[in-house]
Symmetry: C2
Subunit: 533 residues, 2 copies
Amino acid sequence: MKGAEALLRALVASGVEVCFANPGTSEMHFVASLDAVPEMRGVLGLFEGVCTGAADGYGRMADKPASTLLHLGPGLANGLANLHNARRAGSPVVNIVGDHATYHKQYDAPLATDIESLARPMSGWYRSSARPEEAASDAVAAVEAALGPPRRVATLVVPADVSWLGTDDAAAEAVASDAAAKRASRVTPPPGNQVPSDLVDSLAHVLRSGEPAAILLGGRSLRERPLLAASRVAATVGAKLLSETFPGRTERGAGLPVVERLVYLGELAAMQLDGLRHIVLVDARAPVSAFAYPGLKSELLPDGCEVHVLASGWDDPVSALEALAEAVGAKADSAVVAAATRPPLPTGALTPASLAAVVGALLPEGAIVSDESVSAYIFFPAATEGAPRHDWLGLSGNAIGQGLPLATGAAFACPDRPVIALQADGSAMYTIQALWTQAREGLDVTTVLLDNSSYAILNFELKRVGAGAGGSAARSLLDLSPPDLDFVKLAQGMGVEAVRAESSEEFAAAFKQALAEPGPHLVHAVLARGSGL
Amino acid sequence: MKGAEALLRALVASGVEVCFANPGTSEMHFVASLDAVPEMRGVLGLFEGVCTGAADGYGRMADKPASTLLHLGPGLANGLANLHNARRAGSPVVNIVGDHATYHKQYDAPLATDIESLARPMSGWYRSSARPEEAASDAVAAVEAALGPPRRVATLVVPADVSWLGTDDAAAEAVASDAAAKRASRVTPPPGNQVPSDLVDSLAHVLRSGEPAAILLGGRSLRERPLLAASRVAATVGAKLLSETFPGRTERGAGLPVVERLVYLGELAAMQLDGLRHIVLVDARAPVSAFAYPGLKSELLPDGCEVHVLASGWDDPVSALEALAEAVGAKADSAVVAAATRPPLPTGALTPASLAAVVGALLPEGAIVSDESVSAYIFFPAATEGAPRHDWLGLSGNAIGQGLPLATGAAFACPDRPVIALQADGSAMYTIQALWTQAREGLDVTTVLLDNSSYAILNFELKRVGAGAGGSAARSLLDLSPPDLDFVKLAQGMGVEAVRAESSEEFAAAFKQALAEPGPHLVHAVLARGSGL
């Protein structure tokens, strides 16, 4: 069989089921092989950032990688921003990049460029497949690397001739069946290393000292089991329970612990951390300001606060937190969980706060929320914490243009769950093409498009960095009007049903209807001017 | 003054007038400084690929650089594909990328990444500004590097604190006035090195040998003066006059020499080159196949064909070709130029050929054509070669998503000339956000959206690479329907007037009206199914 088919069979044997693709000439043998390997579902994205963002969303929800299929250096480049987000979210992604044939590279043809230099910054693992005989084992290695620990973006470059040349059928099948056997005999995803008991004991000692402490959760520690364990620890020792500002995936809602998120604004985050003597990191990094600001510290922890690592990306946060709960003597029922409660449906002007209340009032059971609400993000946690159980996916890498692709990929991972994208207007325009894939695939995604006609966060940041209020030239680079973006037309232009809502009542009605109907919908939520940041 | 203002003043003094920006927090001081330096016009793009493609289009038409303003590694990444095209087109671009403050980098904040690794593949020059005192001179150096020779993408990274910290006013003004004085006392753009006369003489000898020869023009050699000289040479010695497949900018139309373009399809290009014993390169590279294909050669020149370089990117192609014309004894009036002639307006089904005929029949004097027609490109040269004089901008780097941004930038460089974007549907979706900038700025751009509902070129390439016709899984990755893209709605959603045309007559009427009215327009040209590749 061809190298491309051997590679595809190895991916499937390793558990990869979906390929988010925007292919070109050098990937045509991979594309043609999809018909021979129907266990792999090829999904077209109209822009590479859609493909990589979808792979990220899929990885977060499926806990295993999808693959991408990108076209040479420029195609990879178009997908890098969302690979950056995937990397920061600790999301498993197998990133496949076609390359010129091995012997063709010397000619520096028009599309040639240094793929490795482009890929390395966003890739925790990188390999270029040298021969068709190695395509299958390279694919298996890429999946292993993506699954981790630690979870990674694994980039596999596949030259065109590695795809089209033949390789031994029996050898390729042996690689695939080895991979399938290995997969059947182990837990997926790999839980990570057990944390040594003396580390657990010493951290239990620290936490029981009575000195002010916090547990900072990130990565894989924001799922039900580790959350319950962390909450028990926190309640028992009187520590604060915090999470990263934009965690990749948080299981939350009624019956699950409420975790206070570190606020994006460094000054406020520093207040959340004020007085701490200890912070225990669980698959999280020590808090730093997203940006530097003149006269402000980059580090957010108070002076003298000791940083302890319970579990890194290599370790198993679940067993580590459960052992810690045991070590501090936490009772089984000591977790503090959210009560089932929803905000009442608001009326009147549509503001970020009233929009969040509508979302909290109507959020369906089992929803997956892709949150790229940017300047409005602050209103959602409280409004939704007592809603039925759901998953919340954040902008871990801070690179905007993630929200719609992420929702798209999550819908592939969980076809029976409703997906909701809370999407700011400016960021939406980076990867708006995702709507088309949602329409083509009939995905049950409801996009709430928050329109404040500006990069509101930047109007705010302009002042924060001490650059003043900005004159007309500066402000024109931060305003999204004129002309007004008509997201109803943009959505309809890509086959997605859409309506406009200008009051809380209109928004509630439109959101409810979108949730009730299958398939993708967009609600263009026009926020009252001046109601946000 | 702040480093950012010093930098802006230095850019302006060096002749940079436009900044295509998609800024973030780390660029806020640059943004705020725009009000203090009104000679620099800030233009917002809703996606970084719009900004870099616009800078490319501006550079090709203005023969001097615009600047970009991009946000950290992910923002740069989003702009790389069009920087790749700029690099391949030999377009001067000053690519400015904001970075975290120098002291903030150690914290690996969420948006941090290896900017240099991302930038290098697309940048002929790279520098990260270390101190506010160096911002102005770094900006001058970036402009010099961009102007060349050779013309380059010059990437200047500006950390946030280099922008916001103060620098000595007098020193910054001295750098700016030095730059202005230097600029006033020299030719812009720098013409490049004079080619030695013995090289010219030896190539004249080769061309007069009677052995089959071709002159291959690229880069800066496709403007009126070098074209006329090259045509005189070719006519005098009986050589073929060829150009690169997708030259960055060609001056053409009635009264200018007709140059045969190398066909994209390697097999056909090899036929154009068949029998040659000599090829003389003028700011062009030896022809190679865009991709490798099983069983086909990557090099397109026939065995034994000698490659001669008259002028590289470092050299002046104009004086070189005029000296060569002199050396071969070409008469002053020996250039072979196109007669003024237009195709008749076609009727009936709208096909790539009939659409090209309409464009040829109606192309206005002085038009600038951004050609990303992809699979339809073959029909335009003959249909337009006798039209009034115009410029034709090609997809030099083969990275799709260039067409709409390029047209946008060209309109800034030449506000009094009509700009026409011949834009294929699949490629349009990569950077469709450019339409919004056209609407905001009231640019006189007419987009002809060629809709064949597929990546037609890939359906063709699938067969060419020997991957067969493709099964349904393969074909679904190459087809853009369902759902149908409604480009009228997409354009209107971004404030651009648009109409749909489904016959030659409808297209001609819509195209004519769009040209007659100021401001941006889009004509959604729905090609008859099966009429293209």
